[in-house]
């Protein structure tokens, strides 16, 4: 309801547009380099627009990264979905069925979201070796599921806390128990929270590097590890690295572009997550 006028505000746009340039520079370099033909690529002309649209770099980058992109996809979907389901159940109980001790359990779970993973890395690797999940994707999925529980629990608990108690009580009068209230009352209206949480988990698992680099062997690398390896090698030209970076960023960028509103909501889920 602010009545302040929109005129005379042009000077505000100068810093806003300068900032926009700052945020777009890496995007610009990735794209103009990516679409150049091989013969056009030179560090000297790094900032020039391409003469035409060519896909040489993207094809080369895709050839180098394809198996790893698939590893990422195969890892990210189960990781996101399983941790969301667990988060939903936890959130339901912690918001609507508080039991003795649940007010201690909630912060104890949340703390897991902030720990530096360096403090659990050695046991994690040893444990994965012991249960024979070291080196492959299932072990990485398991790590993402478990260390995803705090944020998914938090989001669902906050979401379910906004749902009136009367709704559950009414369903109880109708003879619903704990599980059937969840199934018939809460689950059907949980879609928004599921979208937020799945997007959030998708993004963080896709972008993770630390777990991936210590838990997977080279053939099971997700794309972040493969891209870092590509960037460190002397053989792969920088233009292919740029195209590869774009390919590695594309899935989460698309999610952001099309589902950005939900992504933001995930970010703001109590602003507790870093």
């Amino acid at each position: 309801m602010r009545a302040r006028s929109r005129s005379n505000k042009w000077f505000i746009y100068i810093p806003l547009i300068l900032a926009a340039f700052f945020y777009l520079i890496p995007m610009y370099v990735m794209l103009v380099t990516g679409f150049k033909g091989f013969e056009e690529v030179s560090l000297k002309t790094m900032w020039d627009l391409p003469k035409g649209i060519r896909f040489d770099n993207f094809i080369a980058a895709y050839k180098a990264l394809a198996p790893f992109l698939w590893n990422s996809f195969n890892m990210v979907f189960p990781a996101a979905i399983i941790s969301s389901i667990l988060g939903s159940l936890n959130g339901y109980v912690l918001a609507k069925w508080k039991f003795k001790g649940s007010e201690i359990i909630f912060p104890a779970i949340l703390f897991g979201m902030f720990i530096p993973y360096q403090s659990i890395l050695i046991p994690l690797v040893e444990f994965m070796r012991d249960i024979n999940l070291y080196g492959g994707l299932p072990g990485l999925v398991l790590a993402h599921v478990i260390y995803g529980i705090p944020i998914t629990t938090l989001t669902f608990r906050n979401y379910y806390a906004t749902i009136p108690k009367e709704l559950i009580e009414a369903s109880r009068i109708d003879g619903c128990g704990l599980l059937s209230s969840y199934w018939h009352i809460l689950l059907p209206i949980s879609a928004p929270a599921f979208v937020v949480v799945i997007i959030w988990q998708f993004t963080s698992a896709w972008n993770d590097f630390l777990f991936a680099v210590v838990l997977t062997s080279p053939s099971n690398w997700p794309v972040t590890v493969a891209l870092n390896n590509l960037a460190g090698s002397q053989i792969i030209a920088w233009n292919v690295q740029m195209a590869g970076s774009f390919l590695a960023a594309l899935p989460t960028l698309l999610v952001y572009i099309f589902l950005g509103r939900y992504f933001l909501r995930g970010l703001m889920a109590g602003a507790l997550k870093g």
């Binding site: 945020y23 520079i25 936890n90 779970i109 530096p116 590097f209 740029m242």
Partner: protein, 295 residues
């Protein structure tokens, strides 16, 4: 009877997660703590008790001194830079302007990208090569006649780590902006109007009314950004690889453990990182949950 059954059921529903967190968070922290007090150096576990020797060794290690120094420099620049840019952009976007949604999404999109991608691209933007091999931002500055801005970036002696904060700010300042914007939107319009009626100008309104009200947001942002900077790892790896001048505890931990097999020392670094994060996070968690309970 039914109530009791349902209480059991509700506990049963959360039990798998509680067990998982108990093992993978608390159990593993305890395990790491035990390793940090052991002699373990080599492929085979060796839990011979050595007390605090690993911690003592770490504090006598010049490499760890570099790590602490780098973490401090990085944290200060990254946190202050993100806060200033975030607050500035939020205030500008709060002026009821056209295209606010567009700018907001634009500033936030780096959040969707991994530190690895950011690092690989910034590695080329911050290319320190000179003369005919000049490229990246240096080349841009040269072309635009801004020669004074040409820099050796992260290869600058002593202060190199400060430049790593630049891509980190690029990635996280939009998020800080969103936090502040949320805070600004929560300030009742009546407060501003009352101040205007009292004859306060725009600058005074921000200085005396809005900024003090944003203090809790600044605190949360500092804690969130601060704990990210204590853990910084993949960004540095992607920009510069593993180089001693740009070393931080997380990289040292990784190398000493998985390349050097000195598990005792790696665990000690992990525990020290955990303690420094806990100092930030535990009061914050307690505070947040208590205020939440009061609401």
């Amino acid at each position: 009877m039914r109530i009791k059954r349902e209480t059991l059921l509700s506990v049963a529903l959360v039990t798998p997660s509680i067990i998982a967190i108990a093992i993978f968070v608390y159990g593993f922290i305890g395990w790491t703590a035990r390793v940090s007090l052991s002699k373990w150096k080599g492929l085979l576990p060796d839990y011979t008790w050595v007390g605090l020797d690993n911690f003592k060794g770490l504090f006598q290690d010049p490499r760890f001194h570099i790590d602490i120094r780098n973490t401090l420099i990085f944290t200060v620049i990254f946190v202050i830079g993100s806060l200033i840019i975030g607050l500035g952009l939020a205030i500008l976007l709060d002026q009821n302007i056209k295209g606010e949604g567009f700018f907001r999404s634009l500033y936030l999109f780096p959040m969707a990208i991994s530190f690895i991608v950011t690092g690989v691209v910034w590695r080329w933007l911050m290319n320190p090569a000179t003369g005919s091999r000049m490229s990246g931002l240096n080349l841009l500055f040269d072309t635009l006649g801004l020669d004074f801005m040409i820099s050796r970036w992260h290869t600058t002696p002593y202060w190199g780590i400060a430049f790593i904060a630049l891509p980190a700010i690029w990635q996280m300042s939009g998020y800080t902006m969103a936090l502040y914007l949320g805070g600004l939107r929560g300030i009742p319009v009546e407060l501003r109007e009352a101040a205007q009626v009292d004859g306060a100008n725009e600058v005074q309104i921000y200085r005396f009314i809005i900024l003090p009200l944003l203090r809790p947001i600044t605190l949360s942002a500092m804690i969130i950004l601060g704990h990210i900077s204590l853990k910084v790892f993949d960004l540095i790896i992607a920009v510069a690889g593993k180089q001693l001048p740009l070393d931080v505890p997380a990289i040292y931990m990784w190398q000493v453990t998985f390349d050097g097999y000195f598990f005792g020392r790696g665990a000690a670094i992990g525990i020290l990182l955990l303690l420094s994060v806990a100092v930030l996070i535990v009061p914050y968690l307690v505070y947040t949950l208590r205020t939440e309970a009061e609401v």
